[in-house]
Amino acid sequence: MTVFFKTIGFSIGLALIFTLVTQLLPQVEGEAPVETKVDLSSLTMDDFVAMGEDLFMNKGTCTLCHKPPPIGRAPDIQGLDMVSTSAERLADERYRGESKDAAGYILESMIDPSKFVVAGWGKKGSNDTVSPMPAVDKAPIQLSVMEMDAIIAYLQAKDGNEVTVSLPSPEAAAEAAAAAPAAGGAAAASAATAEEALGKYACSSCHAMDSEDPLVGPGLATVGARLSVPEIRQSIVDPAAVITEGFPPAMPADFAEKMTVKELEMLVQHLAEKK
């Protein structure tokens, strides 16, 4: 029996030593990317650049490879002025893309990295014609157009160059708003008030709430005077039924699936009172 306890004790003790080693190492958790909401109304270019930097370091996973030599596996973007570097590459005879400027070149490199492979960094055996870099707009990285723009803004701004990309337009935001909830993430709790519902469904991305100025869609400051209650309801659940003249059919068609009846009725009442 002593043999039994000795050997069991030895075995468990050894396993505990291994456990101890893991406890001594830095404890880092690999979080899944979290959906972040961007408030477009107050977004400044500085915020946009900061967002681009964060994307570059984290969600975009760019720094996994793009880091300083000798440990990098791709050109050291942080160490290079990407605007002047882009100009050099656009002038290179091996360049096969269609871009004309730095922003276009950077975007092209993210979406189709093989358009220009920096000498020495191509896939093994491809003689620098095929890039090992994944397309960042595809899974698993899946950056949106807005996110790639933010990265371009960051890469332009970090060396003091002029930022040529524009802040995200409301169209892009509407697109993102329509795509994001469908792509997953926990369903938000039902809104309690009409104002909350307006925020939850990002109505103000496209509609001015307190003026008649057109954005993507018409302003809604006096919508109650223009439309009846059933018309407002129809415009939300089936936006394509009647489109105000001069506006694109850009409104998401799936509010009917997403809204609760209570939210819909609150919104309809709220808008009907705007006269």
Binding site: A32, C65, A186, Q234
Partner: protein
């Protein structure tokens, strides 16, 4: 649309009273399309049942125990068959009975594997219904083939084991060996089928970007990582199986004072250790292939494994492999006391031990790491200030290769320790062997230092292949030269059982380190998928879709290792029951039932 005929339907769309509802074009289209085109489901948090404890932890434990026992029962018949064959060709009955004993002690393992497999499937279907639904959809009828193979496996297992003594000699022995071969064939097929699920999750093939099945089952199975994983698991299983049965022999050795039994179990323990270490030596090369294929499939996935958060894990891996190599070497050195001729090689042991320790320390030197700005802040910089140059891959490659070479040297010396070469060219053979060792070691250091520190990344990576090749050349040359040189060698007497008790603890360290190592590698294999169930195709939106910390993983691995230990003890105990017979009570006691 008469009022009385209206049916109650779930609310799909809110529409305005009094207006006819026109179904949207997209929903009509999706109904009309061929039912084959089913994309991977997009789940949200609420699609994952909450059972109060972490679903991932439950699946983790069940999957790992299933895998441990699966690995054991796939490996044991494999080397049992080889040992049986050795017994037949050499005519030495001891091999045959040892093979039979290995089979006996792992027999309950088949049922335990099945029990954990069933529990795992149940847990997965209950806790991850959408994911499992998708996997069922992708693999389809393959599951039936898989289930069918269990019947074959059981049939061959029972006929092989229970028919052992019935088919022991002559032609019947060959029937028996064929049964063993079929048993292994069924087992291997089961393994590669279940591997295809794991590799599909890591690197899906045969499906399009959104997970719609576009290829046939073969295209789904034959993903880029399937064969590397098959080979890696196949080799590792053998090492693992050898280590576990070695612990059995060591336990039996320690618990008896009978010299004859001690000799038997010493020999059994030696054979197990031999199998474990022999299978272990090529494992890093299979691992290298797997990692290379992972990089080729997705550079991002490769770097997540080797350069990101998980990079720390390879320090733990180094500790484990160091433990395995030191234990294996120590056991060989201690075993030299069995033979008279081993004194010649004693001076080498100090040298080997020194190389092992230096290499081991180089290997556990912290890596160079970069993942994200927040992590760099957390770790306080990406380079270790003093140990930086030793922490990067070339130094570690040198260390690993040298450790493998000197382990092989230990092994070779042990094999030589009871023999004296009689061939006339023995001095030439020895000179060549020594020269090969020396030049190989120099070459490995040169390749690592020169290409690793003074050329570009591409040559650095390429040179590690040349290092590995040098190691392989040493191993192959050693086996070839020795087998020719000691063909009709004079054998010195050796005494089985003449080994210190403390050497047996090396045989316990091996399976514990092996088990723990498998658990650790399972953690990294699964974690490189990050927040995906099926990489790039089906997102994981469960509450556990993050990579846990290394400490948490360490706790989980120790839990599964200890559970495995307990179940293995149970398995050995059941095996020992079959050899025990209760003596018939001579008198009926007073209080007995009338």
């Amino acid at each position: 649309m008469g009022g009385a005929d209206q049916r109650i339907a779930p609310i799909g769309r809110v529409h305005i009273a009094g207006q006819d509802f026109v179904p949207a074009a997209d929903s009509a289209a999706s109904g009309a399309e061929a039912p084959e085109l089913i994309a991977a489901p997009r789940t949200s948090r609420k699609d994952y049942p909450n059972v109060g404890v972490s679903s991932r932890a439950v699946v983790w434990i069940l999957a790992q125990l299933h895998l441990f026992f699966g690995a054991l029962v796939l490996a044991v018949p494999l080397f049992v068959l080889v040992i049986e064959l050795v017994g037949v060709t050499s005519g030495d009955e001891r091999y045959d009975s040892m093979a039979h004993e290995f089979m006996k002690i792992s027999l309950t393992g088949f049922s335990i594997t099945a029990i954990f497999g069933g529990s795992l499937a149940l847990a997965l279907f209950l806790l991850y219904p959408d994911f499992m639904g998708y996997m069922m959809h992708v693999f389809g009828a393959q599951w039936l083939v898989y289930a069918g193979l269990f019947f074959l496996e059981s049939f061959f297992l029972y006929t092989y084991y229970y028919g052992w003594n019935a088919m022991r000699y002559g032609n019947l022995k060959w029937v028996h060996l064929s049964l063993g071969l079929l048993l292994n064939g069924a087992g291997m097929t089961i393994m590669v089928i279940s591997n295809s699920w794991a590799t599909f999750m890591m690197a899906p093939s045969g499906v399009n970007e959104v997970g719609v099945v576009v290829g046939n089952i073969w295209e789904v199975m034959k993903g880029p990582l399937w064969n590397p994983i098959n080979l890696h698991r196949f080799i590792a299983n053998i090492g693992f199986g050898g280590a576990v049965v070695g612990a059995y022999a060591a336990y039996k050795f320690l618990s008896t004072k009978d010299m004859e039994k001690r000799a038997h179990y010493d020999w059994m323990g030696y054979t197990s250790n031999f199998i474990a270490i022999l299978a272990f030596l090529p494992l890093p090369f299979a691992g290298y292939w797997l990692m290379a294929e992972i990089y080729a499939y997705s550079q991002q996935m490769g770097i997540t494994a080797m350069g990101g958060i998980l990079a720390w894990l390879f320090i733990v891996q180094a500790v484990l492999i160091g433990t395995i190599l030191l234990a294996g070497n120590y056991y060989l050195w201690a075993g030299m006391s069995r033979t008279e001729g081993s004194k010649r090689y004693k001076p080498f042991i100090g040298f080997i031990a020194f190389v092992l320790v230096v290499c081991f320390l180089t290997w556990v030197t912290p890596h160079t790491l970069i993942l994200s700005a927040s992590e760099i802040a957390q770790l306080g910089g990406s380079h270790h200030h003093i140990l930086g140059p030793l922490g990067i891959m070339p130094a570690k490659n040198i260390a690993v290769n040298l450790m493998l070479i000197v382990t092989f040297l230990s092994f070779q010396l042990y094999r030589r320790s009871d023999k004296v070469a009689t061939v006339s060219w023995a001095p030439i053979g020895n000179a060549l062997m020594v020269a090969i060792y020396v030049v190989a070691i120099v070459n490995i250091i040169f390749l690592g230092v020169y290409y690793g520190y003074f050329t570009n990344t591409v040559y650095k990576v390429g040179s590690s292949v040349a290092q590995v090749s040098s190691t392989l050349v040493v191993i192959i040359a050693g086996i070839v030269i020795d087998s020719l040189m000691f063909k009709n060698a004079k054998t010195l007497p050796s005494h089985w059982g003449r080994i210190p008790d403390r050497a047996q603890y090396a045989l316990f360290a091996l399976p514990i380190a092996f088990t723990w190592l498998m658990g650790l590698m399972g953690y990294v294999r699964s974690s490189v998928k990050t927040h995906w169930h099926v990489y790039t195709v089906m997102k994981d939106n469960s509450p556990d879709n993050f990579i846990p910390t290394i400490g948490y993983a360490g706790n989980m691995i120790t839990i599964v290792t200890v559970l495995f230990l307990l179940f293995v003890l149970f398995m050995f105990w059941v095996a020992s029951l079959s050899g025990t017979k209760q003596a018939k009570p001579e008198t009926v006691t007073e209080g007995g039932v009338a």
